[in-house]
């Protein structure tokens, strides 16, 4: 399956393990990724705050180059939430506002480029893995199931919201990554905070606000009994991992929940070596959690959820059977 790929600045640096693990698994799942040539930064959530038309033209350059490159595919995929949303929203705003699209194209012409709104399908990497590659195809490649590993799937905000092209089952309680992790053999814990915000750029401009949000997410995962949090975004990973240490200092707490990318867990289940997947480069070490992976599947008995025995003095309930 061929598609165009926009790595984004973070994947090349702070989120290098995300890129490395993606590269390590792409052949296994049959993804052929062609990098957008000489792409530029998409401006994150910052450029839009300063200039509007230039912010769209900035992203427009990437769309224009990608569409010129597109051969045998019209899908453009990105792994970073902000990159994905900027690409998808620029395309959407150009589709919905022809006057604005004309301005963006006028600017692009100054660089010898143009982009016809709607000609590319912008998709997040998780969407491609779950819906194009598919859960069964992923499961078929699992050689080392992640039995015994309890994972909290964390989607963050911008992949599932505002969801300009309606790609997800739910914008507050999505389940795609849950299913993917189960296909890898892992235990997925109930994590109601899965799409709550991690604070985005507040870690830099207003750390106190961000620490509160990070604590809630980490505490939620700890309470749910998770061994690790699984993420799909470089910024979420940075905020929950590196800033988990700062947050601990701030509150005098000692949480230690590692934060891994879903691609790293796929790699492990496919039998790749941790080092090849960038595991070990996280701030909160993942090794203790990963040592929980057991060779044997959970016993059939234990796997079936036992019903909690009803207390003798509980409310009278209708009995089945």
């Amino acid at each position: 399956m061929k598609m165009l790929f926009y790595p984004g600045c973070s994947m090349q640096r702070t989120a290098r393990p995300y890129l490395d693990s993606l590269m390590a698994i792409r052949e296994t799942i049959g993804l052929e990724l062609e990098e957008v040539a000489d792409w530029n930064c998409c401006g994150a959530t910052e450029y839009m705050s300063v200039h509007r038309v230039p912010a769209l033209a900035l992203v427009g350059r990437n769309l224009a180059i990608a569409s010129r490159q597109a051969e045998g595919t019209d899908t453009l995929t990105a792994g970073c939430s902000a990159c994905y949303l900027n690409l998808a929203k620029t395309d959407q705003q150009m589709r919905e506002d022809p006057r604005l699209a004309a301005k963006v194209n006028d600017a692009l012409h100054a660089g010898g480029l143009s982009y016809a709104a709607g000609s590319l399908k912008v998709r997040h990497l998780l969407d491609v893995v779950c819906n194009d590659v598919g859960y069964e195809a992923v499961q078929a490649k699992v050689v080392r199931p992640l039995h015994g590993l309890r994972l909290a799937p964390y989607y963050g905000c911008q992949v599932v919201r505002p969801d300009p092209d309606s790609r997800w089952d739910d914008r507050e309680h999505p389940t795609a990554m849950d299913r993917l992790l189960r296909a890898l053999g892992a235990d997925v814990v109930d994590y109601p905070l899965k799409t709550q915000c991690c604070g985005g750029h507040m870690t830099v401009i207003g750390p106190d606000v961000a620490y509160g949000l990070i604590r809630r997410l980490v505490h939620g995962a700890a309470t749910a009994g998770a061994d690790a949090i699984v993420t799909l975004c470089p910024m979420c990973q940075l905020n929950l991992d590196a800033y988990q240490i700062e947050m601990n200092k701030h509150y005098g707490t000692s949480y230690a929940i590692p934060v891994l990318y879903f691609t790293q867990l796929m790699g492990l289940a496919f039998g790749k070596a941790p080092a090849e997947l960038g595991i070990g480069k996280e701030f909160v070490p993942a090794a203790p959690a990963l040592s929980r992976i057991s060779d044997r599947p959970p016993a059939a008995e234990a796997a079936k959820k036992k019903r909690r025995p009803r207390a003798a003095d509980g409310l009278p309930m209708p009995r089945m059977g």
Binding site: L58, L113, D163, F283
Partner: protein, 196 residues
């Protein structure tokens, strides 16, 4: 009962304060901001709500009342982290997050903000993109922190070193090959932004 036609943008326009119209015109597409029913769902959904000096709901009432200065001076748009909770929950489908972006841009244009650190962060980011075509965390973090919280820089140093040791940060920014092309595009876009 005969169907009430949904008012077109032009019909609704007379009730708008000039400032409300200005905000709507500056937001891509139809933000529907004039349709706010003041239900408060946005404020109740906002993770940064408690730190904001006005909730989004209150800010929108202020916009409708034409309180331009007070709105553009507010920290609300700057504390917005673009989580889009309000946007997907708003019963009137108002593009709240997009409006926050518009307000940030207007506040920068009018030089009306009380705390200059968030706009400065955005501007520092933009500067790197305009020079290199890529962002540059190390430069961004140090340049921003030196100016705004020099004390925190020392406490954050271990994280920076940790990044370097893990091969997760570079010491020099990468420059794209098409920098001249990108500059031409952005210059033209800025000229277009200035014209209505």
């Amino acid at each position: 009962m005969s169907a009430v036609p949904s008012p077109s943008a032009a019909d609704r326009a007379p009730e708008c304060s000039a400032f409300l119209r200005e905000v709507m015109d500056a937001t891509p597409g139809d933000s529907r901001l004039n349709m706010c029913i003041q239900c408060g769902t946005c404020g109740g959904s906002c993770p940064a709500g408690p730190e904001m000096d006005h909730t989004p709901r209150r800010l929108f009432a202020m916009i409708r009342s034409g309180l331009r200065d007070a709105v553009l001076r507010s920290n609300t748009p700057w504390y917005c982290v673009s989580c889009y909770f309000c946007t997907v929950r708003c019963p009137q489908q108002i593009h709240i997050t997009d409006v926050m972006y518009t307000l940030k841009g207007m506040a920068i244009g009018a030089q009306l903000y009380r705390d200059n650190s968030p706009p400065d962060f955005s501007q520092t980011f933009v500067d790197y993109v305009e020079h290199y075509g890529r962002s540059f965390e190390l430069g961004l973090a140090t340049r921003f922190s030196l100016r705004h919280h020099p004390l925190s820089l020392a406490s954050m140093a271990p994280m920076g070193l940790g990044m370097l040791r893990r091969g997760r940060m570079e010491l020099v920014p990468h420059r794209i090959e098409g920098m001249a092309q990108l500059t031409r595009i952005l210059d033209r876009a800025k000229a277009l932004e200035a014209t209505p």
